[in-house]
């Protein structure tokens, strides 16, 4: 008899714990994205390789895939740009509704080394933007991303860049939709993107 009551109490406790856990999962899953990012419209004003100033208004009606990187980056940046290239190929005709942007966080050196040739080597649709220090800082702050120049005597030109390696998806009206963490395969990006187009 006492054992049975103990069992009931234990079962009840387990039930409460399960419900609490479930609620926790639901709320922790939802809260940060839908509430915090609802009306977040990151912006930028940066020159392309021809020196034309580009802003989100130029791409109104298109989805943007935005990556902050630098061309002197042989490991992380090519990996992400290769995924973006794959996405653009796999989109077929729908690719015209998507504009990939590569925003340089190392603009002075990237312009010297040649920015457009670098992005074109991955996919002709990727548009490279490189501003001055202030324009770059402003774009990064608007996207809430981090980049930093770190002095390193052993690195080419004596410095390295650290940066946020995620890929950002911006909607046709300029709303921040989501980010794809570094290493997200092209197939996963495509699966998320296609129903939106």
């Amino acid at each position: 008899m006492r054992l049975t009551r103990l069992q009931k109490i234990l079962w009840a406790a387990a039930g409460v714990a399960a419900l609490a856990y479930g609620a926790l999962m639901v709320f922790s899953d939802r809260a940060p994205v839908s509430v915090a990012e609802a009306a977040f419209r990151p912006t930028f004003s940066l020159p392309d390789a021809e020196g034309r100033l580009r802003t989100p208004a130029d791409f109104a009606g298109k989805h943007l895939l935005v990556f902050f990187g630098f061309t002197n980056c042989p490991d992380v940046c090519p990996t992400t740009l290769a995924e973006v290239a794959q996405v653009m190929d796999d989109l077929g005709e729908e690719a015209e509704n998507v504009q990939p942007l590569f925003i340089s966080v190392d603009p002075e050196r990237d312009r010297r080394l040649g920015l457009a040739a670098f992005t074109a080597a991955f996919h002709p649709t990727i548009l490279a933007l490189a501003g001055d220090t202030e324009q770059t800082r402003a774009a990064a702050e608007s996207f809430k991303i981090f980049f930093e120049r770190q002095d390193d005597a052993a690195a080419p030109d004596g410095y390295m860049m650290s940066h946020s390696p995620a890929l950002y998806l911006i909607g046709p009206d300029g709303d921040w939709l989501r980010q794809f963490t570094y290493g997200t395969p092209a197939a996963d990006i495509l699966a998320d993107l296609q129903p939106r187009l």
Binding site: P74, D75, V76, P78, A85, A117, F122, H163, A166, Y182
Partner: protein
């Protein structure tokens, strides 16, 4: 004419095999060494490969050298708190009985001071120095800029 075609076929068939072959030194086996093409020689190149330690003693990769780069180094891409950086690293552990890899987004050979642009289809020698097993030279195959993994049968990234 027929002989020329045949010879061409042999050369093309042999090239990927060089980079895909397994090279051994002591208990260490190295395979699938590949790199990405570069535009010009002003940006650093990269090297990826797979290392298996078949022995019962831990080893470590402590250096890389190649005639095509003035300053080759081991780097490790670290993504922490959403920030990627790639510090120079002194060694990559290759524990006994395990496989370790230079792979995109992790440890990689960083080839600074390239003496020439790396073109798709080229290959170059790379000498790896292991703490215990010593030196071994592998052939690195240069793939396209957007390559994600070695182009070998059963390749691992």
């Amino acid at each position: 004419m027929k002989r020329v075609i045949l010879a061409t076929l042999v050369v093309f068939a042999a090239m990927p095999a060089l980079a895909c072959e397994t090279v051994r030194v002591g208990d260490i086996e190295v395979e699938h060494a590949w790199s990405r093409a570069t535009i010009g020689a002003d940006r650093p190149g990269v090297v990826y490969l797979s290392i298996r330690n078949t022995g019962s003693t831990d080893d470590a990769l402590i250096g890389v050298a190649t005639p095509i780069a003035g300053m080759p180094m081991l780097h490790e891409t670290v993504v922490s708190d959403g920030i990627a950086s790639m510090p120079h690293t002194m060694s990559m552990p290759v524990p006994a009985g395990q496989t370790a890899a230079l792979a995109p987004g992790g440890f990689h050979g960083m080839l600074m001071g390239l003496t020439q642009a790396l073109k798709k289809g080229d290959s170059f020698p790379l000498t790896l120095t292991f703490e215990t097993a010593g030196d071994v030279t592998v052939t690195v195959e240069v793939l396209g800029m957007g390559a994600k993994e070695a182009e070998c049968p059963n390749a691992q990234p």
